[in-house]
């Protein structure tokens, strides 16, 4: 398993840079990944999504879909795209230290 030095710590990641052990996540790690993803400042709105993903994943063991973020997390899809341009769930789940959302089959 590859590792990565980020925000002063070493974390385990997969080949796409997603953390493989969510317990290695800290807010500082999240902020550093955000910078790599082109988000230089994580605002309260950015964190709202990250925290929703973390809570929902902990409760259900699967990554929520965009639909679920909208209906259960209460965040409009348009806003997700404004906050995380180009792939809201892919970026935010990486920042949250969670697996890449698998498009279920």
């Amino acid at each position: 398993m590859p590792t990565k030095d980020i925000a002063g710590v070493t974390v385990e990641v997969n080949e796409e840079g997603y953390l493989t052990d969510p317990t290695q996540w800290t807010q500082a790690v999240g902020e550093a990944i955000a910078v790599e993803e082109g988000i230089s400042l994580m605002t309260e709105e950015h964190w709202k999504l990250v925290h929703f993903l973390q809570k929902d994943y902990a409760e259900n063991g699967v990554m929520p879909t965009i639909r679920r973020v909208k209906s259960t997390g209460g965040i409009p899809v348009k806003e997700l795209y404004a906050l995380y341009p180009g792939g809201p769930l892919k970026k935010s789940s990486k920042i949250a230290g969670l697996p890449k959302p698998a498009s279920c089959i």
């Binding site: 080949e15 699967v62 879909t65 639909r67 348009k78 698998a102 498009s103 279920c104 089959i105």
Partner: protein, 416 residues
């Protein structure tokens, strides 16, 4: 007398009725199946209707022909389930008490979920092929198509038969070539996924085919709305795709009766144990087929594998024994690619589609993840197998419930 009630007499519910009528002690157990419709449609056949390969008559038979003797068949809508009271309420107000409930209400398209989809463009230049009405309307439109922009669109995952939109795209390419209008047609495949298919190995092979056949792939496209007047799809990130004919696979949802019963997730799929098929919320409720929230494919072949496990588990549940966690996510799909050829893929929760032979390792006769004429013949034979073996719960020669890895090139797998 105890009661086992099956909701839905589609692929999965019909199979379960046929299995259980042979396995349950009929002096102890009454068996009832409820469905709103009289006609059973062979849904995989809908794919071929727009191209005139199958007619409506080829894909329908009376449901009653497949419900075995000794099973009470009620043709009525299901209003709701009251799981705390162990009762089902029908649309006419009748109530059915149950000791064990099997939910097999499937899923269907919900085009109204997308803004602009069902406005004036619907079935004028926006079509689906997931319903008999949509497939027939599309056939009539394609008949006199003389070229332009043909866009095939997948709105949101999960959908039943996840390979169907790609198959449609490849078949349309061949159809338009035969018709002599391929050079006047731009074909575009639009998907919310990053790759043309959910399984990486398969996406690589199929992606290559799209390039070869000059089909443009637009990825990561989450449709915000459709503008039926300007005829374009609009993404949340403001990208636009223009069409003359849009063939869409709208959002798929479980039946509204599941929402009325308070038993579903945000798409009305029922949280279900992915190995035993018991509902997460109620021990005497089991779920099979497209109605579940399982991360397996929603396909008839999958329901067939699930039916074997569920038949065993109903017997165990009645006997008070621990359930068999036997369902491994096994799926087996033919993928039509046009010009009388097809691919075949075989995979489960843990193993991605790989090359090999099926159903007999090394021998075949079908080749996995390869495009062959014989695979295409297998796809066409599936209709006969569906009506004559699958629905009746008879074994399919050589095909096992649990996926076999013998003779498969597993080293081709990506990652873990």
């Amino acid at each position: 007398m105890k009661q086992l009630v099956i909701l839905g007499a589609g692929t999965a519910g019909t199979m379960m009725a046929n299995h259980l009528v042979r396995k349950l002690d009929r002096t102890q157990w009454g068996l009832t199946v409820v469905d709103q419709h009289a006609t059973h449609y062979y849904q995989p056949g809908f794919l071929f209707i727009p191209f005139g390969t199958y007619s409506e008559a080829d894909v329908r038979k009376p449901k009653a022909d497949f419900i075995p003797k000794g099973v009470t068949h009620i043709q009525e809508g299901i209003d709701r389930i009251k799981p705390e009271e162990n009762r089902v309420v029908l649309a006419d107000g009748r109530e059915l008490p149950y000791d064990i409930l099997i939910i097999a209400t499937g899923c269907k398209i919900a085009p109204e979920e997308t803004v602009g989809m069902t406005d004036e463009g619907w079935r004028r230049d926006i079509f689906d092929f997931y319903t008999i009405e949509g497939a027939v309307a599309l056939r009539d439109r394609l008949k006199d198509f003389t070229g332009g922009k043909l866009v095939i669109h997948l709105n949101e995952m999960p959908i039943k038969c996840p390979v169907a939109p790609l198959e449609f795209t490849l078949l349309a390419e061949a159809f338009l070539t035969h018709k002599g209008v391929r050079d006047k047609t731009e074909i575009t495949y639009v998907s919310p996924l990053s790759e043309p298919f959910t399984k990486h190995n398969c996406a690589v092979v199929l992606g290559g085919m799209l390039d070869e056949k000059r089909i443009t792939f637009v990825s990561d496209f989450n449709c915000e709305r459709i503008d039926p007047v300007a005829r374009k799809l609009i993404c949340y990130d403001e990208r636009e795709v223009a069409y003359d004919i849009l063939v869409t696979v709208p959002t798929n949802m479980g039946d509204a009766c599941i929402a009325r019963s308070g038993m579903g997730d945000e798409l009305n799929f029922i949280p279900t144990d992915k190995h035993t098929l018991q509902s997460n919320a109620h021990a005497n409720v089991f779920v099979i087929g497209d109605a579940t929230n399982l991360p397996s494919s929603k396909a008839g072949s999958v329901a067939h594998f699930q039916a074997d496990v569920l038949t065993e588990n109903i017997q165990r549940f009645i006997a008070g024994k621990p359930l068999d966690p036997g369902f491994d996510g096994h799926a087996n799909c033919f993928i039509e690619s046009g010009y009388n050829k097809a691919f075949l893929i075989d995979f489960n929760y843990d193993v991605e589609p790989v090359e090999g032979a099926f159903p007999i390792p090394v021998v075949g006769p079908f080749k996995l993840l390869k495009e062959t004429w014989l695979n295409h013949m297998g796809k066409l034979a599936f209709r006969w197998i569906y009506w004559n073996l699958l629905l009746k719960g008879r074994p399919m020669p050589g095909i096992t419930t649990k996926m076999s890895t013998v003779g498969k090139k597993l080293n081709k797998q990506k990652g873990a």
